[in-house]
Symmetry: C2
Subunit: 351 residues, 2 copies
DNA sequence: CTGAAAGCGCTTACAG
DNA sequence: CTGAAAGCGCTTACAG
């Protein structure tokens, strides 16, 4: 029995099957060229020897590595949103369906990191990249396009021209759904706890909130500060305490779960019950949202789908799969996971 | 200017430098064999052409892929402990310091997944593996050892003979530290909320707790049930309500943060204040532990260090780095992160 | 349909 | 110290 290390080659398979190396190669790469009985003999030999083509030899010859580059960023300590674990898994699994694997590397953020991408390309180590952790004014899409390198980004270009292919979450649509959900429960004073202007993601989410409010005839009310749970707590606290001019909101839509956890804390500080006295909705559906005593309603991103679609787009670019005749972008809707923080309905405070 | 795609080769570098291909190769792999001025000329040419050796060609020749295999498991939905994000980053970064990259793949759990490992080996796609998500009776260490494949596991073998190299967290030491911390705060009735017997990790942690109690003259009191926050809530609730025979504990040490979040909820259910009325300690230092209103004391695993040490051990096995003359195992201590859930001290309830 | 030839880009003994 | 030769394992035209 051949062990994985036994090192069957095209040559040894050919000998066993009584054909030439090329015929074995043809069975692998162009089976229709080989007569059925010959093919059968070769396939038997392959099975018997547990033969697998040497990846390096194949890559050297075809100039295709069947490797997709993915840059892992250091997870910030205390990051609540372990989205990339799931994303990377989905990417890896989808890639495997087409004989591709994922090559991980690290790189500094910004322009300084481009060298690492260049090095992998110079080494012909990868055929293309899946980009994550995209930021406003990310230099990578432009640079990769310049170099003619296939890539797909998780996250659209938020500034400048819209370069390259991407898959992203429709944050605006998610926030619209959150507002509609709260409106249906009877809420009429729904405030938004957001980030400062200028973050693409945050601006997108607040836009969805505002649009929904206007469509439903509600007054949008947006407060902003740099993210963080303590910030959310402070912003929510100020809203709940009121400022004399405006009545406090009965529902808080938060740009992230992180802010929402702060908002929940602000409720607790004041003896208010989430869902009963004031509704709270977050974004990301982080793991802590489902904990007993938290039970936060939140928008869940379709991460697995984003991973799959990213790979499909990239393999289309590489000519490995039929490119679907679709657009260069895919915007996927998050889904609202309703938990106790927005139940039961608060009785409408205004007729 | 050479673009990454321009495809400088050993040949083109040799032409520019006016030497033969072999000399260029020597500059790269055995610079001491080349005369200084020749070397300089070659290095200039390399820089000018932005030359990088083709990885496939090099691998084909040397039979070393400079790739480490890592299997990504699907993250269970709602998993609170995004440890692998950090682990993978540390592994990738450490590997890069020695010219290695990480190749990601997926595989079913258990014996069924061994095929994927075998396939990568047959393809000569990787030189070895870093194993994570190790479980009791994991078939991988034994199988890889049989095949003579280099690997290092994050997590020791909990059953059967202790096979291969591993790096792990000293859960027992962590729990001992937790008990000592609580004892120093004045607690004398410290209970442990654990998992059912038979999980290596859980047994290790409870052992550390028990040992510390006995050493400090405290009565160990262990309750167990399948993990989960709701379970922790129920177990903690029963302890806090007392059973007539024993006074309720003043501190709860939990086998995981997940259980601890449930315990915190049990406190809240009874109007008890964490840290003031009853202390709670978890394990994993999950991101939610630092949220306002949670503030859970917990044991933090030195994940980055585990990743680095795993890579170093593996590269030692591969002969890439000097193998430190140490043992085949490394047991690293977690560190206690003290937060409000174990502060301020509860006055000792018994003299 | 099948097989002999060339070559992908590198490294490793081995002569000179 | 430097260079000519062989070969890693594959695929791709191209003859037969």
């Amino acid at each position: 029995m051949a062990t994985p290390e036994s090192g069957a080659t095209l040559e040894s398979v050919a000998t066993v099957a009584g054909v030439s190396r090329q015929t074995v190669s043809n069975v692998l790469n162009a089976p229709e060229r080989v007569a059925p009985e010959t093919r059968q003999r070769v396939e038997d030999a392959i099975r018997e020897l547990r033969y697998r083509p040497n990846r390096s030899a194949r890559s050297l010859r075809t100039r295709i590595s069947r490797l997709v580059g993915y840059c892992v960023q250091p997870t910030p300590a205390g990051n609540l949103n372990p989205v990339l674990d799931r994303f990377v898994h989905a990417v890896t699994e989808s890639a495997a369906e087409h004989g591709f694997h994922v090559l991980l590397f690290t790189a500094p953020a910004g322009t300084a990191g481009l060298d690492r991408y260049a090095e992998l390309l110079a080494q012909r180590a990868v055929d293309g990249f899946v980009l994550a952790d995209t930021v406003v004014a990310d230099p990578r899409p432009g640079w990769l396009t310049e170099q003619g390198v296939p890539f797909v980004a998780f996250g659209r270009s938020w500034s400048g021209p819209d370069i390259g292919r991407w898959v992203d979450v429709d944050g605006a649509a998610g926030m619209t759904e959150a507002v509609e959900h709260l409106h249906a429960l009877g809420h009429r004073r729904i405030a938004f706890i957001g980030w400062p202007e200028g973050s693409g993601v945050g601006d997108d989410r607040v836009a969805g909130y505002t649009a929904a409010c206007l469509r439903l005839g509600l007054d949008p009310r947006v407060v902003r500060a740099e993210g963080g749970a303590e910030t959310g707590r402070a912003l929510a606290g100020a809203l709940l305490d009121g400022d004399g001019a405006q009545e406090p909101p009965t529902a808080l839509v938060c740009v992230s779960d992180e802010s929402a956890y702060g908002a929940l804390r602000a409720l607790a500080d004041r003896g208010l019950r989430p869902g009963e006295d004031v509704a709270v909705v977050g974004f990301d559906d982080t793991p802590a949202a489902r904990l007993p005593g938290v039970d936060l309603t939140s928008l869940s991103q379709p991460i697995e789908q984003i991973g799959r679609e990213s790979v499909l787009m990239l393999l289309g670019l590489l000519g490995v799969v039929e490119t679907p005749p679709g657009p260069e972008h895919r915007l996927l809707r998050p889904s609202l996971v309703v938990r106790a923080s927005s139940r039961p309905a608060v009785p409408p405070t205004e007729a």
